[in-house]
């Protein structure tokens, strides 16, 4: 593998991201503003009604929804946090030297960590969290 030394320091590299962010915000705002300015504007009672396939709308849209979406969010949190913690592990583990005494330790820590979430996963599966019919 060719080693390439880049004459860069780290923090200044985020400056282009800042420029890009400004451009993105500018693009979005400009588009929304332009279409408001350029297009026509007419109002009407029926035009302002909520679209409900041509029927008169019934009630508000802000209503209670199925608790399953909440469970999805919680399960997501469990797994996402686990994966986030595994990223540093994944970037260090392969570069351990040959015969390093930490190899087994690193592997077993990951296994224990994944095992906990596998138990959670098996539990959730059996409990019917992943059924949506």
């Amino acid at each position: 593998m060719t080693t390439i030394t880049l004459a860069v320091s780290e923090f200044g590299l985020y400056a282009p991201v800042g420029i890009l962010l400004l451009m993105a915000i500018g693009f979005g705002v400009a588009n929304v503003a332009l279409s408001t300015v350029l297009g026509p504007s007419r109002h009407g009672k029926v035009k302002g009604m909520v679209y409900e396939s041509g029927m008169n709308p019934i009630g508000s849209a802000k209503r209670r929804f199925n608790v399953r979406f909440y469970i999805v969010a919680m399960t997501f949190l469990v797994f996402d946090v686990e994966i986030v913690f595994l990223y540093p592990w994944a970037s260090v583990f392969p570069s351990l030297a040959e015969g390093s005494p930490y190899g087994v330790l690193f592997l077993s820590r990951m296994l224990f960590f994944v095992l906990t979430s596998i138990i959670a996963f098996a539990y959730a599966w059996r409990k019917g969290v992943f059924r949506y019919d």
């Binding site: 138990i119 098996a122 539990y123 409990k127 019917g128």
Partner: protein, 519 residues
């Protein structure tokens, strides 16, 4: 203290966690016979954890420090609690219907595995609280203790009151957690450390520089104490206790009376251990003084006005937290049992736990009109129908009251004795007066059992485990009251060391003073 040593210390917790995971999975098995194993798995993992703690204690040559003492106590009392709670899932209508084959098996609706898993999770949390040597660890352990109990309260009973009290408990608990987390943040801000020993070093430096610790650190500790007061149901945070204790099923109430309270007091001892040796800011002393006095008084006075035995016991639980807060004032004591508040609290936790679990187990063994026995009517004349249970209730109540042959008497002697040695005579006078007041409602329970008229509608619940647990708790309270020397000396060993600083315990050759000087 590096990670490997820490892991070596938490093997009992790992055993409990694995047991809990196994409970979760086994509790969803298709066959009822396999699902019934969950309780036994919980018991087995408790025994394994106890065995590991015992082995560690033997290796260390005795109970050194607060950690092994709390772990042993949690295992022992946890086994009794498990006997009380073993039948809780079966009391639920849905579980009964499914297990009797009246409803098809539906993993989403059975809670057998979850109940025991949460039970073990909560006990794990107490053990981890005792292990804590870091603010982050302490916070996580306290929350691990509390979070399962919210669910246990809400799901343990087919009644809307249980859900109401579960929600109430959860929201107030979240608020309390926010308060003490804010306190932790201030402590971190004042010292720049989260490790207990480093915080103590920083506080010592502040004393060396200014003659006092910084107001920010004091504020942090005060807020933490107030937040943790929720766990022990002490006065500014006691509102939930009666409602939650009444709403939950009796076995879970017994659990609530012992487990979060133990975790709370361990955390309080650890937090007060953050102060430099022999230095308590007046603000904290006064806070504890007022909290103790108010907690005792409020608990006992309100306890007088209740018609529900569970509510009476709830207020008694508040009052007992007040007595133990007296011990907190005498925390930095000599090694002697009679002068050491830590040892007294550790001893009293076990004493109170045994007595209150005995009382709740008696209530749980009885049912009236298909519901668990709760009111004075339900236990009225108990001696004629269930003489043994009535006897157990009498022993438990006497121990809670603190009459001489029982363990509660010894506990109060040590608590109040250590407080007197530290010069808190006024507080002890209030405490003794309160004990006298509490005699009214304790003896009211006893007299209802023995002299009331039985209406004959109270029958015992099926199963032997709850009466057995009640008997064990009461007999233990009696025997330890006569022959508590071993427990006393153990508690003294446990409390004789500077608390909350586990690394100081493991390396006694490094006195904190020397560390301060070298920095």
């Amino acid at each position: 203290m590096n990670m490997a040593e820490k892991i070596a210390g938490v093997w009992p917790e790992i055993a409990l966690l694995l047991g809990a995971a196994l409970c979760l999975l086994v509790g969803l098995a298709r066959s009822v016979a396999i699902r019934r194993f969950t309780g036994w798995i919980a018991a087995a993992s408790l025994l394994v954890a106890g065995w590991i703690v015992a082995a560690q204690v033997c290796n260390a040559g005795g109970v050194i420090g607060l950690t092994p003492y709390i772990k042993l106590a949690v295992v022992a009392v946890g086994l009794i609690l498990l006997m009380v709670a073993a039948a809780v899932p079966v009391q639920l209508k849905m579980t009964r219907d499914i297990e009797a084959g009246r409803e098809p098996f539906e993993p989403g609706l059975v809670i057998r595995g979850e109940f025991f898993a949460f039970f073990l999770f909560s006990l794990t949390g107490v053990m981890l609280t005792a292990d804590a040597s870091d603010l982050v660890w302490l916070f996580l352990a306290l929350e691990l203790t509390s979070l399962p109990t919210y669910v246990m309260v809400a799901t343990s009973r087919d009644r809307v009151e249980a859900q109401e009290s579960g929600v109430k408990y959860f929201f107030l608990g979240a608020m309390a957690a926010a308060v003490f987390l804010y306190g932790f943040a201030l402590i971190y801000g004042a010292t720049g450390q989260t490790s207990f020993s480093l915080i103590v070093d920083a506080a010592n430096q502040q004393i060396a520089a200014q003659g006092r610790i910084s107001p920010l650190l004091t504020t942090g500790i005060v807020l933490s104490l107030l937040g943790v007061a929720f766990k022990i149901a002490a006065v500014p945070m006691h509102f939930y206790a009666a409602d939650v204790y009444q709403g939950a099923t009796t076995a879970v109430t017994a659990f609530l009376a012992f487990v979060p309270k133990t975790a709370g007091f361990v955390a309080l001892i650890a937090l007060l251990g953050l102060l430099p040796d022999g230095y308590v800011p007046p603000a904290i002393t006064w806070l504890l003084w007022i909290m103790a006095a108010l907690t005792m008084t409020v608990g006992n006075v309100l306890g007088l006005m209740q018609s529900n035995v569970k509510r009476v016991l709830a207020y008694s639980s508040i009052a007992h937290s007040g007595y133990m807060l007296v011990g907190l004032l005498a925390l930095h004591g000599s090694g002697d049992a009679l002068g050491n508040g830590t040892a007294a609290i550790l001893f009293y936790l076990v004493a109170y736990g045994l007595a209150t679990i005995g009382a709740f187990a008696v209530l749980g063994s009885l049912q009236a009109r298909g519901e668990e026995a709760e009111t004075f009517d339900d236990i009225s004349g108990l001696v004629r129908t269930h003489p043994v249970l009535a006897g157990v209730m009498l022993l438990s109540v006497l121990s809670l009251l603190g009459l001489p042959p029982m363990i509660g008497f010894l506990g109060k002697i040590y608590l109040f004795g250590s407080a007197i040695q530290h010069g808190f005579v006024g507080l002890v006078v209030i405490a003794v007066l309160n004990s006298a007041v509490s005699a009214v409602y304790y003896l009211r329970i006893a007299s209802a059992c023995f002299f009331g008229d039985s209406e004959g509608h109270t029958v015992s619940t099926p199963g032997i485990s709850r009466p057995l647990a009640a008997g064990i708790a009461a007999v233990a309270a009696l025997i330890l009251g006569f022959a508590g020397g071993r427990l006393v000396s153990t508690a003294r060993d446990a409390g004789g060391f500077p608390t909350g600083r586990n690394d100081v315990v493991t390396t006694p050759s490094q006195p904190p003073a020397a560390t301060t000087a070298s920095r």
